[in-house]
């Protein structure tokens, strides 16, 4: 199948798998059994659709297969018989049902790897094989994670519902963390060399958008969606023709998707009106500062510094302090930034970007030899080919 057809197939599956899963759990009352039926239906779709074409009503097609498989299961297992017999097919679930699905998949009693695998399978309709390929782990590992997670859901009594209002904030941040991780995984592993078999960034944007639509009064969901869209809007300029990383200051800004940037910026503004700032809104606002600058020289570094200070108050982290130091370089100069960076040497000594940042500051200050040493150290700490080639280039030419 051609690439666009693949993407179309993934999109259609994603649009319908979660709805199907939600209504089956609702009707059967058994998460694990419903999930198996959905997986069967998706496997069937991935076999038939590339050959026969995507049906006019993909949802009805999937329901029909799930129903047939469901009746097969019935013959073997009596415990769902009465419930399944009452199911009217096909049926439209309430939109909220998918939200319950997400909260169950991302329950804090499940390990992170299982939260990710379950969410991709149940909400986005990925197969176990597709998840394994995206995360470069054996298919049996993913299958075990899913099996264990489903057993835990039933044995430990993990509920299928939206958390109570007083729990919602912490549970939502757990869900957003899963989506953010998916986005990072997809974004960082994307390079020029080979297209991913499944675009995790698509899944992450889909999930963030779903969360934003279902929880329109949660500004952090909007913030995460804006953050993802702002990164995607500039993706075309991230790599050169050879697959090498192009640093922000050297990117061809005419290749940025201006309408997408404007849309994401509006999203941030609407979220800000709730006056409940959070880490995703602030990170999105930082990226927006970069995205809205027509030229590198126009970047509003003072504003970025303010945003990082707010972010550090909400979510202190050495990596965020490193980012803040980069902004500080353009507000207060490289010497001030280097002093700040050097305070992080204990905690970030194994982080390649700590040394790469030091190298840039040392070079600005005319310490060529120390800069080379820092670049060498950075090079020894990263395996990412695009990052390695950038550092190697710097060592060869400076």
């Amino acid at each position: 199948m051609t690439e666009p057809a693949h993407a179309e197939l993934a999109r259609v599956v994603r649009d319908h798998a979660g709805r199907l899963a939600a209504s089956l759990v609702h009707m059967i009352g058994d998460f694990s059994a419903a999930e198996d039926l959905v997986q069967d239906a998706i496997e069937a779709a991935l076999t038939h659709w590339p050959v026969e074409g995507i049906p006019q009503r993909p949802d009805a097609w999937l329901y029909t297969v799930a129903r047939r498989r469901g009746l097969d299961v019935l013959r073997r297992e009596s415990r769902h018989r009465t419930k399944l017999a009452l199911v009217p097919w096909p049926t439209e679930p309430e939109p909220d049902d998918r939200l319950r699905l997400i909260f169950t998949c991302c329950h804090p009693a499940l390990p992170r790897t299982a939260q990710i695998a379950l969410t991709l399978r149940v909400v986005c309709g990925l197969t176990t094989g597709q998840i394994a390929k995206a995360f470069l782990v054996p298919e049996t590992t993913v299958a075990q994670r899913i099996t264990r997670a489903k057993r835990k859901i039933s044995d430990a009594g993990i509920p299928y519902r939206i958390p109570a209002p007083d729990e919602l904030a912490s549970r939502l941040s757990e869900v957003l963390a899963v989506v953010y991780l998916l986005f990072n995984e997809g974004y960082l592993s994307s390079g020029g060399e080979q297209p991913q078999s499944h675009d995790l960034v698509d899944d992450a944007e889909f999930l963030a958008s779903l969360l934003h639509n279902l929880m329109p009064t949660e500004p952090e969901a909007a913030g995460l969606l804006a953050l993802i869209r702002l990164h995607r809007a500039r993706a075309a300029a991230r790599f050169d023709a050879d697959g090498g990383i192009v640093q922000l200051q050297n990117q061809d800004r005419s290749r940025w998707d201006r309408p997408a940037i404007a849309g994401a910026t509006q999203l941030i503004a609407r979220a800000a009106a709730f006056k409940r700032p959070g880490p995703y809104q602030l990170q999105a606002a930082v990226v927006a500062c970069h995205a809205e600058a027509g030229r590198w020289e126009d970047t509003d570094w003072t504003q970025i510094l303010v945003l990082y200070d707010m972010l550090l108050r909400l979510a202190p982290s050495p990596v965020t302090r490193l980012h803040r130091a980069v902004a500080l370089r353009y507000v207060a100069g490289p010497a001030a930034a280097l002093t700040e960076v050097d305070t992080l040497s204990d905690v970030l000594d194994d982080y390649h970007l700590f040394h790469a940042t030091r190298a840039e500051l040392l070079r600005d200050l005319g310490h060529a030899e120390q800069a080379r040493n820092a670049d060498q150290r950075a090079l020894s700490l990263t395996a990412n080919p695009a990052e390695r080639s950038l550092l190697q280039h710097r060592l060869d030419w400076t």
Binding site: H107, A109, D155, A156, G157, I158, P159, R161, P163, A164, E167
Partner: protein, 113 residues
Amino acid sequence: MKYVLMFVDTEQFAADLAAMSEPDRERAYARVQQWFADNHDKVTHHSHLMPADAATTVRLKGGPPLVTDGPFVEGKEVVSGYAEIDVADLDEALRLTQSWPGCPVVEDRPIAS
């Protein structure tokens, strides 16, 4: 669904408790008593255990039973008590657990039906 909450003491917690003044320690115990009173409709039964050095472990794997002094696993964290609760689901069990005013670690384990 029924769960057992296993209350786990740490060395630090035991030391902190021992270092408290008598009135402070009484207040700490009173908070635990209050928790049981507040949740009496969900807690089906509960017990506080004697310290781990009062434990005796018997191993029955092959040969004659082996009786040794102390808990089955030596560690900085020891089970100091338990409560059985009857609640709707894990979220309700976790909500209850998060309000526990005693020892710093609690394991929630469902009872096999």
